[in-house]
Symmetry: C2
Subunit: 256 residues, 2 copies
DNA sequence: TCAAAAGTGTTGATCCTACACCCATGA
DNA sequence: TCATGGGTGTAGGATCAACACTTTTGA
C-alpha cells in the first residue's frame, strides 16, 4: 500500500474492480491428463469453453473462494475438498481481459484423483473433463485444439507447465492418486504429466529413497493392470518437498 | 469466470475491491541483502515501516502498476526500470488484511543492482534500504527485527524465500549485479542470498558450464577487493534457465 | 616478500543410467 | 506356458565436493 493513500476514502472513489478466481483443475483418466471445463451460457463467449470460476465474496479470501468453487464445480463435498491440492497460480489483470468491465482474476491450480463424472453443483451442471493433447484441450474425436474464452488458454497452459515443473521437486504427484496406490500408478502420473516414459527400477528407487514421500500400507493388491505380480500398496507420506529432486529426462541437448 | 455471472451487471452490485500492488524490492549492499521500505505517514500503522506500493489504476495491469511504483519509489527512470527484474510473487487477499476496507494486493518481487540512495519520487521521499538479518529487516544498530505494517512481514519473507530458491535454477542472480561484473561478485550474490560460503573453483566451473549464463567482456579489471589478481569481466548472457541447476549446500540431513 | 584474490588441476566418493534378471499372477 | 507387470541387482560412466596448487596484483 502506498503511503499516499488518503486518510478517509470511499471505495467508490477508485476504479471499481471485480475480483474473481479461475480454476485450472487437473486429473488423470486412463493415462491422459484432463482439465475440468465448463460451457459458457452467456455472452461474451457464449457457447465457448472456459475454466470454472467465480467471484470472490465479501468475506472470503481468494483461496477460500477457490475452494468453494472447486466443491461446487466438481460436486465434491466442502469437507473432502479440503484434502485436495489447491494452490494459487498467479493473478491475471490485463485491463481488457474481460470486455464487460475490469476483472482481476486470481488463478488457482487444483489436482484431483480420478473421479466419477463431475456431478455439477448449482453453478455448472455441465462441467466436463476434457482431455489435454500436447497443444491443449481437445474434445474426443476433434481434430483441432479447443480455444477457451477470455485468457483461459494462457492460464491453463501456465498451470500445466507449473505442474510439470513442480512434481520434480515436490511430493505433489500423489495428489493425482487415490488414497492408496501402487508405485506403478505413481509412475504413470509422472509419465502422463511429462509425456515421457521412465525407467521403472530407477523410478522406484528414487521414490523410496525420499523418506516421507510414500509409506507402505499392509495388505498387497493388484491394481495397475489385470495381470502381473500384485504390487505393494502405498499412501502419501508427510513430506512435501522432494530431496533429492526427481528430474525429468531433458529432451535435447546435454544428457544433463 | 463463472457462467453464473448475470448478463448485465453493475460493478457496484458486488463488493467493491481495491486492488493494489506491493513491492518487495531487494538489493545487495556491502555483502548484505537489503529491502526497500517506506515509513507510513498515515493511519493505520502510522509511523511503521511498510513495503512500497499503491493502487492499480483504471487502465493498468498489475505488472504495469508495479513497474510504475518501482520507478517512483527508487527514482529510477521509467525507461531504465524496464530492464530490471520484476515478477509477480502472489496475491494476498485475506478479508481483514487492511482494517479500512477490502484490499486485494498483488505482491511483486524486484531485484536491483546496488544503487545510490533512493531519490524518492513524489510518493515516497523517505524510501530507504534496510538491511535484512536472518530473521528479517533490522535497522542499523537496532537489536530487534523491525515489524512491518499489514501482512508485509509475510510478503517480504515469502519474497526472500522465493529468491533463494529461484537463483538455484534460473539466471536471476545477475539481476543483482551491475551490467559488467566479475565471477567473484556473482559468487558474493549467491553467498549473500543463501548465507553460505561457496567453493570458488567449483562455483566458477558451474557458472561457466552453463552456456548463456554469463559471457566474457573484453578488457580485464580489478574489482572485488583492492588487492589480488584482476578478475575477468562478464555480462549477463541470454539464458534464463540454469541447466544443470546450481544447488545450494543443504544445511542438515543427507549430504544430498 | 607477503597477503589477497583469481584461476587451474586432481582425486576419491557418490550418484545415476541402462540394463539384465527373477518373481508372481491371469489367461 | 506365456504374457504382463512388480521387484532386485549391478557395472560403467558422469558428476561433484574438497582441496592443493599456480598466477597476478597492491602494499
Amino acid at each position: 500500500m502506498s503511503s499516499a493513500r488518503p486518510l478517509n476514502y470511499d471505495p467508490h472513489d477508485y476504479e471499481p474492480f471485480a475480483v474473481t478466481v479461475d480454476l485450472a483443475v487437473f486429473t488423470i483418466r486412463s493415462g491422459t491428463l484432463h482439465a475440468l471445463l465448463i460451457r459458457r451460457a452467456e455472452e461474451p463467449y457464449a457457447g465457448d469453453w472456459a475454466l470454472p470460476g467465480g467471484f470472490v465474496r465479501a468475506r472470503e479470501s481468494a483461496h477460500t473462494a477457490a475452494r468453494r468453487e472447486l466443491a461446487e464445480e466438481t460436486g465434491i463435498s466442502p469437507d473432502a475438498v479440503r484434502t485436495l491440492h489447491l494452490e494459487q497460480l498467479r493473478t491475471f489483470s490485463e485491463p481488457d481481459r474481460d470486455p464487460r468491465m475490469r476483472v482481476v482474476s486470481v488463478a488457482h491450480t487444483a489436482l484431483v484423483p480420478d473421479l466419477p463424472e463431475p456431478r455439477g453443483g448449482s453453478d455448472a451442471a455441465h462441467a466436463q473433463w476434457v482431455p489435454l493433447g500436447p497443444e491443449g484441450p481437445r474434445l474426443p474425436g476433434a481434430s483441432a485444439v479447443l480455444p477457451l474464452a477470455f485468457d483461459h488458454d494462457q492460464i491453463l497452459a501456465e498451470a500445466r507447465d507449473r505442474i510439470g515443473a513442480k512434481i520434480e521437486y515436490s511430493c505433489l504427484a500423489t495428489a493425482f492418486c487415490p488414497p492408496e496406490f501402487t508405485l506403478g500408478e505413481l509412475q504413470q502420473v509422472y509419465e502422463t504429466v511429462w509425456g515421457t516414459p521412465l525407467d521403472r527400477p530407477n523410478f522406484r528407487r528414487k521414490v523410496l529413497a525420499t523418506s516421507g514421500f510414500v509409506e507402505p500400507v499392509a495388505g498387497p493388491a493388484r491394481l495397475t493392470g489385470g495381470r502381473g505380480k500384485p504390487a505393494a500398496v502405498y499412501r502419501a507420506g508427510p513430506a512435501t518437498a522432494l530431496q533429492p529432486p526427481l528430474l525429468r529426462p531433458r529432451p535435447e541437448g546435454q544428457p544433463r
